[in-house]
Assembly symmetry: C2
Homo-oligomer: 234 residues x 2
């Protein structure tokens, strides 16, 4: 078996005080959460750790690998309820919410997660627990895979789209209302000939952004779970 970033292990007790992979990952996570992908550079990260720029490369093969580690870190934050406690259906609902909020906490995720498969240890553990949860629904083994996959895709897709909106608000530095209204104005000016879009856009203006987005999310997830439920033992 070839060595990978996941298998590599270092001596437990470093001789003197040195950088460590854990420390690098932790600091990188802070930078990423705070400044996004564009704000993370190896030089800045090293400076923040009080180290020389290229010292990081002893602990991590490339920046891309570092990002792999960070993504897997996020997968470790998601909790998947045991089906015994609440049944698979509400378990799946909780799982969905947990997954969504992890994405919202780490808004850089969508930008990078779709450029690589997730095969780190936390991703595997997450998958395992997910399969246990969906396995309790009474699906065939193949359907268990499919059901879990579709829920994850839906949740990640929705949360990613949410992030796109929320980040633009944040980056503009302006108030949510003023930004939303400008975006809508812009959209309206482009959508002059589209009455339904106009109407739909106008409907959104009057609502609180947060509850609007949460409502969207729950509606679709619920519908999807309904559809999945109807497939049990069919």
């Amino acid at each position: 078996m070839r060595e990978t970033i996941w298998t590599r292990q270092r001596s437990a007790a470093p001789a003197r005080e040195t950088l460590s992979r854990e420390q690098i990952v932790k600091t990188a996570m802070e930078v990423l959460d705070g400044e996004g992908v564009a704000g993370l550079s190896m030089r800045k990260l090293a400076a923040r750790l009080g180290a020389g720029a290229t010292s990081l490369y002893w602990h991590v093969p490339t920046k891309d690998d570092l990002v792999d580690l960070l993504i897997d870190q996020v997968w470790g934050e998601i909790d998947v309820p045991e089906p015994e406690l609440a049944g698979w259906r509400s378990g799946a609902l909780l799982f969905g919410h947990s997954l969504r909020s992890a994405v919202l906490r780490h808004p850089w995720l969508p930008e990078v997660m779709y450029t690589r498969p997730s095969i780190g240890p936390n991703a595997m553990a997450l998958g395992e627990r997910g399969l246990v949860l969906f396995g309790a629904a009474g699906f065939t083994p193949r359907e268990v895979d499919l059901a879990m996959g579709s829920v994850m895709s839906y949740v990640l897709g929705t949360a990613s789209a949410e992030v796109a909106t929320r980040e633009m608000v944040r980056k503009s530095g302006r108030s949510e209302e003023s930004w939303v209204s400008e975006l809508l104005e812009q959209a309206q000016s482009v959508a002059t000939d589209y009455p339904r879009m106009q109407e739909s856009v106008r409907r959104r203006t009057s609502v609180n952004l947060d509850s609007e987005l949460t409502g969207n999310f729950v509606f679709g997830l619920d519908a999807l779970l309904d559809g999945l439920q109807s497939r049990v033992m069919k």
Copy 2:
């Protein structure tokens, strides 16, 4: 109304032979489809057009704006059936397939689309047609928005995840089988303690990648549409 990249218009008949925004967008699309986001640089793009590097900046404010234009171009490729022809349900199915295949044709899309809202003209036109389609199902106006949004999120999320897998295969330059089997081996080695994941991963090894991914997609979309249908006039 402020000028935006969407509103800007140029003189219809350029005096001499010059670059044009259309030409730039078209060439950029080729580069992007062929080499991905990392392969698109303003200098390379200009060279390909036989122009100086910074000439592009007369036609397009920034690279980011160029990407906005490219994304909107993709939205223009998606077709949304009229509900009269096939009913909303199978229309939605067709819509989903069209959207998915656009993403697969432009695998760079997931990497960039989640970093900005889509408010270009083609996005608006797409939205309008989508609302017409889902409007035919008998939802309340609010539900029409929600239904369309959830379907788009699901499809984009699933297709994006697909792209992650497919691109890794392509980039590795090796055969699909050899790559899949190595990925699986790697995954297995990480997932030693996870019997369900092991089993699930093993199940995939024996199947054709293409039909596997298409099957996943259809299963979830179908379930979601079932769930939506049950909400009509409830």
